[in-house]
């Protein structure tokens, strides 16, 4: 496809003051990876290095032109763009927050921020709280005079809304259009289905009758799935879509193993690795270890064909830990074998994206729980399941992270379970698990797996906390543009 090709035009961006050459058409995170920058951000409490992963959103958050929390994997490069690491103080060259890594992790477990030697009602508490707010992991505050305005939204009424531009989504859109129905297709990727295509799937061409919203997040479903909100990554007008039928073709996502080091920069999910190989032909993913489920040999061939140097292929369940300091150095298996590698790519276990189905079906007075999908909402393709179980190596490791963005370890969950807490909503409130930028995807799957291993119960007996809208996909300006497009629903 023409859109797939780069113009080859080169631009210069700045990362922490350093000049980086990038190619027009690439995003910032990819460009930085190509320039050898693995660490893009740091976790909130332990200040662990995080980078591009495809799994943990905190790893691709940066400060761009005075704005914090910009997703670098969705920001196209442009000449003169100034990008900085955000969770650093006082500046990237001298980051004193790194001292947090010396603090015993147990001291920073959930609740660490309210110790009794700094009781509220005192002056020293106010100083402490101020420090907490500075260190909370976000970027610098924007200037008070930064301009801002409402971005007017757009209301759409269609017969069919399809979420996902892979083969299943395209087939559903094409069939509906052929039947004379009005169709909108929403895709995160700027080229819908590019990853499936890179893996060898053939993509049926979308007819012009299908309205394509590319580079857009399906941010939320409201009112039993009758209202779909779609938000362009570039801050453009949000769409309020009322569709008679909704097709969720969101595919499956690879879930990292619940082992120590799975959060290290250099651990990538398969689509992210494909994205790097596809968009930057010059990147050779050196010494790549492929882990996953099912038959991995064809996938390894495919990655090699795309330019990866695949040194090992192992079942995800046999991985004991992923080793490294600031990025991946090797993989340790349960049988004691160790491979040196620079990149770990996981392709399975494959899980479903639970967010939109949950929101379409959620109900409850004491707790939102997912029921059956309403009849007008369907899951197609990989999104129809089934999901594969999360793997955690031969033994659940206390040092594995259940929620890397918020620094929740297996050890912390274990202590709470030992004290009698197994309710996922209470665990969320006690630890902050899933309250970071990923909003529980994939950490609540990892939490359920940890709980299952710790209690001997099945993972699906724990449920998960509510998957809340709009998962960081809407700016205030975009959301403000939707006011007035929808009337409040007055209850009985």
């Amino acid at each position: 496809m023409a859109a797939d090709e780069h113009s080859g035009e080169s631009v210069t961006i700045r990362w922490n003051g350093r000049r980086i050459e990038a190619r027009v058409g690439d995003d910032v995170a990819t460009s930085l990876y190509a320039a050898g920058v693995r660490v893009l951000n740091y976790s909130r409490k332990f200040h662990r290095p995080l980078g591009l992963s495809g799994s943990f959103v905190a790893g691709v958050k940066g400060q761009v032109d005075g704005l914090a929390n910009v997703r670098l994997d969705r920001l196209p490069v442009r000449q003169g763009l100034i990008v900085e690491a955000q969770n650093v103080w006082p500046h990237p060259g001298l980051d004193l927050l790194q001292l947090a890594r010396l603090v015993p992790r147990r001291w920073l477990a959930g609740g660490f921020e309210h110790p009794m030697w700094l009781p509220s009602g005192t002056r020293r508490f106010q100083i402490w709280e101020r420090l907490l707010r500075i260190a909370a992991g976000g970027g610098r505050a924007m200037a008070p005079d930064r301009p801002g305005a409402v971005v007017a939204g757009e209301a759409l009424g269609v017969d069919v809304a399809v979420v996902g531009g892979g083969p299943a989504g395209r087939r559903a859109a094409i069939a509906a259009a052929a039947a004379g129905q009005s169709v909108v297709l929403i895709s995160r990727g700027t080229i819908p289905g590019a990853v499936a295509q890179a893996l060898g799937a053939s993509l049926p061409e979308l007819p012009s009758a299908v309205r394509l919203l590319a580079g857009v997040e399906a941010a939320a479903l409201y009112r039993g799935g009758r209202l779909l909100i779609a938000a362009p990554f570039d801050g453009g007008p949000a769409k309020l879509i009322e569709a008679a039928r909704i097709v969720l073709a969101t595919g499956r996502r690879s879930t990292p193993p619940l082992v120590r080091g799975a959060d290290l920069p250099g651990v990538l999910d398969l689509p992210t690795a494909i994205g790097l190989l596809k968009h930057r032909a010059r990147i050779r993913l050196e010494r790549l270890c492929l882990i996953g489920t099912g038959d991995l040999a064809p996938l390894a061939d495919r990655l090699a064909h795309l330019g990866a140097d695949v040194v090992e292929t192992v079942a995800a369940g046999s991985v004991c830990s992923i080793q490294g300091g600031r990025h991946v150095r090797g993989v340790l298996l349960g049988d004691g074998r160790r491979f040196a590698c620079d990149t770990v790519v996981h392709a399975g276990p494959w899980r479903l994206d639970p967010v939109l189905p949950f929101q379409a079906a959620a109900a409850g007075e004491f707790r939102l729980t997912a029921g059956n999908l309403p009849p007008h909402v369907e899951c197609h393709g990989g999104a129809a399941g089934p999901a594969e179980p999360v793997v955690h190596g031969p033994r659940l490791d206390d040092r594995a992270l259940v929620c890397p963005c918020m620094d929740v370890t297996v050890a912390e969950i274990r202590r709470l379970v030992d004290a009698g807490t197994t309710h996922v909503e209470e665990l969320k409130r006690l630890t902050g698990c899933g309250m970071g930028p990923c909003q529980g995807v994939p950490c609540w799957d990892l939490l359920a797996a940890a709980l299952a291993a710790l209690t001997g119960r099945q993972p699906d007996t724990f449920g998960h906390p509510s998957y809340r809208a709009p998962r960081g996909a809407l700016t205030l300006a975009q959301a403000a543009g939707l006011a007035g497009l929808v009337q409040p629903e007055v209850g009985p």
Binding site: H114, S120, F125, A479, A483, Q487
Partner: protein
């Protein structure tokens, strides 16, 4: 006998007995249990149908303030504010009450007049509340488009109390004092003998109680019906959202009277707040909806344009029990002896320490404190509603 009890089978083996059984393990229930335990009362049991922090006590905006435009509200809530300051030491757990100040903004002649009244009433009640000049307002809220503001009042003693810390401290302090806390334990019936409440049911388990307190938030009217009595008010759904975190942008908690917007920046760096949209859904669903975040976003972009590019991390819904005048219903139920009420809270986290303190005093000593008396449960029936104009709920 109540209708609820009539359906029950004859009691199984004599169940537990409580001196005080509290229905609702939110901040009102736990604070009351703690205050009763502090007064030496034993055998306190707390039952909650949901999980810990599952109700409004884990979903609110966490703003606390001492003053309002009516002396009744101001006396009760300024007492509460005093108690918040010392609560960490009392509990032995840090509740993270942050005394960052609380700013109320008026953007019309109507609300500017309310702001003036607030200053006057609070001065009479001995509460520090100052009208802010333009320069002071800039210092406290640099991001505000001040052209739109006609009046601003700052409470020195206001601020925020993160519920995760407050609820954790209260739960631990209650447990340390032997209070029996039972979550996911739904009360299904309340027994009456004549005009007295005598016990309650959890499925087929009966718990005898000398005294029963309903502190069940939005569920309180339904729970009261189990005892065969009415409690005025209705469930009211509120929604809030959190923005992605940044370093400190502004300190005080903020309420905008004209926009019914409230917000603050949490210790986690997230700007947390919400607003009201007239006609928003009543009833008891926790599913969130679009109008509230869209209108809240519009208000913020209008009055604090520099926030426009921040992203909304998550939104959620919760319920309050809205009484006729949005004030708490605090005290003995007039139609049933030994049945007490702590409900109707729309500023529940701000008022909880006072609610717990004064209701515990009434239960333990029979003495109704003058600060609590105006909030009697039957004030609507008696035509004694309290007019309060400085609250951020739509009328």
């Amino acid at each position: 006998m109540s209708a609820g009890a009539a359906r029950r089978p004859v009691a199984k083996p004599p169940g537990a007995k409580a001196a005080v059984a509290i229905i609702g393990g939110g901040i009102q229930g736990l604070m009351l249990a703690f205050c009763l335990a502090e007064r030496g009362i034993r055998d306190i049991k707390v039952f909650d149908a949901g999980y810990w922090q599952g109700g409004a006590s884990g979903r609110n905006g966490t703003l606390v303030r001492p003053g309002f435009s009516s002396p009744e509200w101001t006396r009760l809530f300024s007492h509460s504010q005093q108690l918040w300051r010392g609560l960490s030491r009392r509990l032995g757990h840090n509740v993270m009450y942050s005394r960052r100040g609380y700013v109320t903004l008026g953007e019309s002649d109507r609300t500017a007049a309310i702001c003036e009244q607030v200053v006057r009433v609070n001065r009479d009640c001995g509460v520090a509340a100052h009208a802010l000049g333009r320069e002071e307002l800039r210092r406290h809220l640099p991001l505000l488009d001040r052209k739109q503001v006609k009046a601003a009042v700052r409470f020195v003693d206001g601020g925020v109390v993160p519920h995760h810390a407050a609820m954790k401290g209260l739960r631990a302090a209650c447990q340390a004092r032997g209070v029996d806390l039972r979550y996911q334990s739904r009360v299904t019936g309340i027994d009456r003998q004549g005009d007295r409440a005598t016990g309650l049911w959890l499925g087929d388990e009966r718990v005898a109680a000398d005294c029963i307190v309903i502190a069940a938030g939005a569920h309180s009217p339904n729970v009261a019906r189990l005892a065969g009595v009415e409690l005025e008010g209705r469930p009211w759904r509120l929604e809030a959202c959190a923005l992605e975190p940044t370093r400190p942008i502004f300190d005080p908690a903020v309420a905008m009277l004209d926009r019914t917007v409230y917000m603050h920046q949490s210790a986690r760096g997230e700007i947390v707040g919400g607003c009201e949209v007239a006609g928003d859904v009543a009833g008891l669903t926790l599913a969130s909806d679009l109008p509230v975040i869209a209108h809240y976003a519009r208000h913020l972009v209008e009055i604090m344009p520099s926030l426009a590019d921040l992203r909304i991390l998550r939104q959620w819904a919760g319920h309050i029990h809205a009484s006729a005048d949005f004030g708490p219903l605090l005290g003995a139920h007039p139609d049933c002896r030994d049945l007490w009420i702590s409900a109707g809270w729309s500023y529940g986290i701000a008022g909880a320490p006072a609610g717990g303190d004064l209701l515990a005093k009434a239960i333990a000593t029979g003495e109704v404190d003058a600060r609590m008396a105006p909030f009697s449960v039957d004030r609507k029936r008696r035509g004694k509603l309290i007019e309060e104009g400085a609250i951020v709920v739509s009328h």
